[in-house]
Symmetry: C2
Subunit: 232 residues, 2 copies
């Protein structure tokens, strides 16, 4: 059996940073699976085209492509049922959909303006140019630096927006319960993305989410913490 994972990197191929690829990385580790990393950069669209995707993560399972982090998670759950469950049953699989939306909107969407101008520092010139042009268009032509200029006040609103999650990890160790599962990896992917590309401090040290993140940095023999990144 062979598993290969296309992961977004910049100048350093050993420094994957996509929040969605980190969801998959953690999911693979949870299942006790290892995948060969295929470093991929923003402008290498042609490498993914044969697999029917424009974006990462793309997982190749014996050369069959599985595209999109959510689809990969459910694929792993269905194809490796004897390994630790990512969802803890059908109810968890359904509810993780909502946590996936929380991860996309509140976490990735919330963090993006706080770190966006730091991202090109991690990219080769051609990828930095692509990133800047495509992302500035999304912000209505505003420069990445202008978007990020208000991050010291923006981060206060971001922290506040995490209250639903904060109340959860005050009451139980992980979103997934006593042990982490895919619900946690969804959210953690966003924090790990930020940690890899930006020195900006997202969480206060006394925030219960800070302690939760620390535990996930240590998970799987410190896999995420060992991956190059900034101090958080």
């Amino acid at each position: 059996m062979s598993l290969k994972l296309y992961e977004l990197v910049g100048t350093d191929p050993s420094r994957p940073f996509s929040p969605y690829c980190w969801r998959t990385r953690m999911a693979l580790a949870h299942k006790g699976l290892s995948a060969e990393s295929l470093p991929w950069r923003f402008t290498e669209k042609s490498a993914l085209a044969p697999h029917g995707s424009e974006k990462v993560p793309v997982l190749l399972h014996d050369d069959k492509p599985i595209v999109d982090s959510w689809t990969i998670a459910t694929y792993l759950e269905d194809h490796f049922p004897d390994r630790p469950s990512l969802f803890g049953g059908e109810g968890g699989r359904a509810m993780a959909r909502m946590i996936n939306a929380f991860g996309d909107i509140a976490i990735v969407g919330g963090i993006f303006p706080l770190i966006v101008a730091d991202i090109p520092n991690n990219l080769a010139e051609i990828d930095a140019a692509y990133f800047r042009t495509s992302r500035e268009a999304r912000f209505g032509g505003k420069s990445l630096e202008a978007v990020m200029a208000s991050r010291d006040t923006g981060v206060v609103g971001f922290r506040k927006s995490l209250e639903v999650m904060r109340q959860t990890v005050k009451k139980q160790p992980y979103i997934g319960g006593e042990a982490p599962n895919y619900a946690d990896y969804i959210v953690f992917g966003g924090f790990q993305w930020a940690r890899v590309v930006s020195p900006f401090k997202l969480l206060e040290a006394d925030d219960p989410i800070y302690a939760w993140r620390d535990k996930l940095l240590d998970a799987f023999d410190g896999m995420a913490r060992k991956s190059p990144g900034h101090q958080v």
Copy 2:
């Protein structure tokens, strides 16, 4: 076996309106259980005191009190395991904790300022006075009418804050998956609360959450829709 449920009502004892009691009502119906309703009003603290609570819902199972909607849900799941599951497994039970926080913060907390001055209309004088005094204190002394004055703009922000849920029910029929479970009842309780006490229109008819709410109004032979309330 006997089940009795203390439920918050106002002048009409057949019109329970607490969002938390509606979570429990729906959970009982899901389990195929019926409980005798014990109507309870805000100022009847002495009726609950012997059961160790100041708030509803309180469920009496053969006279043993179970206090708090979340505790009741897990109690029902554990004590009636052969009936349809409220969580769909341990993963769902854990993740529902986060959806419970979403229900408390985004739904109940988000709806409250939009309907707050309508609530006393449903209450007898003594309860209305208690409600006004205690809730105005929470709003720093602002009158309920002043809190609600901006609801036409406030509701726009409320609808926006539901995006995480909207994305979910666009992708699957219920938060709980193909069929509703406790994750749905958590959120629905808030909408049913609003429907019972206020004519204010919370959702646009083309919102996927509107269609989701409609299905839950129809669930269990239209239990929630048959309960007296406003047109929504």
